[in-house]
Amino acid sequence: MNLGKSTRSEKFQHFETETSAWLRGECLLKAAVSVRMRPDEPPLSSSVAIMLYLAEKFQTPEHWFPADLRLRSRVNEYLSWQHMAIRMHGSKMYWMRVMIPKIMGIDVPKEKMDGALEDLNASLTLIEENFLQDRPFIVGDQMSLADLVAIVEIMQPLGAGLDVFEGRPKLSAWRDRVQASIGKDLFDEAHQVILGAQDAMKQVDPSKLEPFKPKILRLFF
């Protein structure tokens, strides 16, 4: 989710953005987006909570987070499910296909890779068959926060050279609708970094990525 634009707009002046700079060789272990709601309180973390807050606070067009409680629940349902499903499975691809080979100097064993791909495919299938079904967007005729959160997670594996849309016409058609709904320029701008990540990573000196080793060992081995 691109909040970089936000600094140019008056309304968003009080937001603080911290974005990962590790592609430039500055190592941050965590990329964080935070929003300061009140000066005397810690910033609000969690991109999901931030989006829900922005939608409410700035009275964004209703389709983002419908007022109808049942439609709204469908958005909440997706936002809840996705944490330990598509988000987890999609992000893993970048670690397994790009970061681990680069940092550890080895390829992830085929068995582990196959298992991770299977999990990712299961999530993608659930998105198509359970969350989209025959609707243009997740909760109906218009795009909502559910589609926004979904698209960025689904695009993530593309950063690892994995075309998740191949052989998935329903998902591809939905992506096209999301892209049109967001606007091609903004969509492309938001995804520029991840789509170029595999190439950019080739330029990075592996020693700069040493701090990631303990996390990799913990999570993947």
């Binding site: 810690p42 999901v48 409680l69 049942r70 659930l126």
Partner: protein
């Protein structure tokens, strides 16, 4: 606000998110009917249940023709649809955002790390007939410790409850996860007075709903004790 109708809930009280939903329903007296789904017997994998929820998970809420999965969504739906005290899921955007923040963080932190301890100590040995994998358990306990530290420093801090001065649905989700390792007699909060006191406040706030929801878990613990 809705009155005179009864929601149906499909749940297994051995499941942490199911208990959170159960506590909210019983504490706030939202009219409801419980359908028991025994996970240990694979009842969530029957074709009948799969028609209700293709993802084969509990809890599931049915309100008229409306079927809703995911405890997050269910808790928020109940709090905003029924006439229950506002503190459960506050209307004010800044207060509501704190609850949303915890509930999002919960998925990748409290839930997996607390659940893993129970899975390694109780479920896997029971299902596979193997001894506890101590190495994995030690690692799980270490991950859980980091989570408990963060619960205290990021959320609880000096507040009475995780998201402010009043109990919210976030506290229900968290407390039910942190209770799960008690199934093997392990009190993960025994060395954490801040969280222990918070747990007591949650118990006081929900009254007998707490023990009602946890009866099954306590029975698991007691049966294990009897065997040793």
């Amino acid at each position: 606000m809705a009155t005179g109708r009864e929601v149906e809930v499909y749940l297994d009280l051995l499941s942490q998110p199911c208990r959170a939903v159960h506590i909210l329903l019983t504490r706030t007296k939202i009219p409801h009917r419980i359908h028991s789904v025994a996970l240990r017997k694979g009842e969530h994998r029957t074709s009948e249940f799969s028609k209700l929820n293709p993802m084969q998970k509990v809890p599931v809420l049915v309100d008229g023709g409306f079927i809703l999965t995911e405890s997050d969504a269910i808790l928020k739906y109940l709090a905003t649809t029924f006439d229950i005290p506002e503190h459960w899921y506050p209307w004010q955007p800044e207060r509501r955002a704190r609850v949303d923040e915890y509930m999002a963080w919960h998925h990748s932190n409290t839930r997996p790390h607390a659940a893993k301890v129970f899975i390694l100590e109780v479920l896997l040995p029971a299902q596979l007939g193997v001894p506890v994998d101590q190495r994995r358990l030690d690692r799980a306990l270490s991950d859980l410790d980091v989570t408990l530290e963060r619960l205290e420093s990021m959320f609880l801090q000096r507040q009475a409850f995780l998201c402010g001065d009043d109990i919210t649905v976030a506290d229900l989700l968290a407390v039910c996860e942190l209770m799960q390792p008690l199934g093997s007699g392990r009190d993960i909060l025994k060395d954490r007075p801040q969280l222990r006191h918070w747990r007591s406040r949650v118990q006081s706030a929900v009254g007998e709903s707490f023990d009602d929801a946890h009866a099954v878990l306590f029975a698991v613990r007691d049966r294990r004790r009897a065997r040793l």
